[in-house]
Symmetry: C2
Subunit: 308 residues, 2 copies
Amino acid sequence: MIARHLAPLAGDGALGLTDDAAIITPPPGRELVITADAMVAGVHYLPDELPENIARKLLRVNLSDIAAMGAEPLYYLLTLSAPRGLPDSWFAGFAAGLAADQARYGVTLLGGDTTSTPGPVTLSVTMFGHVAPGTALRRSGARPGDDLWVTGTVGDGVLGLLALRDSLPDPDGSLARQYRFPEPRLGLALNAIAHAAMDISDGLVQDAGHMARASNVALTLEIAGVPLSDAGRAAGPDFVSSGVAGGDDYELLLAVPPENEPLLRASAAQAAIQITRIGRFTQGPPAVHGVAPDGTPIPLGGKGWSHF
Amino acid sequence: MIARHLAPLAGDGALGLTDDAAIITPPPGRELVITADAMVAGVHYLPDELPENIARKLLRVNLSDIAAMGAEPLYYLLTLSAPRGLPDSWFAGFAAGLAADQARYGVTLLGGDTTSTPGPVTLSVTMFGHVAPGTALRRSGARPGDDLWVTGTVGDGVLGLLALRDSLPDPDGSLARQYRFPEPRLGLALNAIAHAAMDISDGLVQDAGHMARASNVALTLEIAGVPLSDAGRAAGPDFVSSGVAGGDDYELLLAVPPENEPLLRASAAQAAIQITRIGRFTQGPPAVHGVAPDGTPIPLGGKGWSHF
């Protein structure tokens, strides 16, 4: 299986996946940014999902963490625990999905492990990126006066899952696509622009709260300003404030000082990524305060989203 | 759980395990060696194993791969998929086991992910080590004329598992200890001594075959010379040649030119690691040929060992 399906995905340093370990020399003068995310069949994706799609989402959720640090992706290790009897065609499809997104994002396979399991397919990726020393973006850098920006539209991941479960119409399949193939927001050159960044995986309200707490600042979140797709707008007036919107979206939250807005807009335009200002950080105890356009407080649900 | 049990294990670059990724600067002028191994409850360890012991074996099997490359260990990432309802005491014990072996081997936790699973506990570690550029030891470097050496004694891992299953007497518990706590053979300074190295996890005969094939050389394996414990000697005359001995041992196989034997002996003495010459590589089609002391061929079983 490894020789047939995975070895063709191996890049420099992987030693053809035949040795005890991989050997890498990081790009000269760069720091490495490293993240790991696991996915379990029936927890992070529907049990009957196509293996191609599982592979692509697995890479993308990890690439999103690299993007959230303002880093550029390099390579990844994979461990795969699979039930005995999973057909060869599953592995072929899984490898095809990896190959497609390796080409799309410029990463290669560095190594890993495959084992059997009496349980569901369980996948783990360790993804590597690189940044100029000292420039990686953390969650904790937001300062009073910074604006909060978000990429793309918020909430389509959750709606896509409902669509996949036939709980929501999705005539052109765009919602399902959004859930299956979140777009890691690489290429924004954020390091000189933002004070803090993170990706949204739990839900907009919850993750905005994580940034506020990590930075020890208050955040005013302008609920009506949160960018939604048509489906998001149709999801009801409480879609954003309930805390559900944003789960499994993998858009970026950015804390940007107002004077850097022109740089942010230029970078987003170059990368063809939509950006929207949705709030402002202020001095105060760390908390997220929802407000309407007229300044009226809007209560926020903190439940967030933990897959399905 | 992360804040309580795992954050105290985090080292430099882990950002307290609270950010999207870790940030590292490899030691200046060194290459990184990176390996990943997964373990599944009921496949790689007995389902009722103590969490302390699971954690320690998980680190050690990964550290063994670092040792097999002639590298020094640095840090690791961990992904942990656990059934809902696993008690807090399990995580406390697991973290205590990690802490014990972190201190023993000088590694720290860099990051990772925790998820739920409807299946068994599934663990994955990505372990990092460092070496001088170009000096990492591969499996493929054995040359005709090199001797094959092995560390420690061979076969106690498999016998330890039998002991744990009450299929073998183990009055002082030493066999069970060997299975639970394999000793990664770090500290041998092999890079200037050996042409090739790998750790034995599948079985001595099978892994010796992997080295012969990767190096495209033949190997004469002197079966009577393979170092065994008392229990190994008691396991019968075919214990080594059957191919079972050596599974889950994590001893090192080393291809060493005869002129480096004094260096090897000095290094092993300094590290207090037993080493034994058990064969010689020769020109010829890649294969392992078992021989008795009088030169008579001994047929080898290639079955090896795939956990239990």
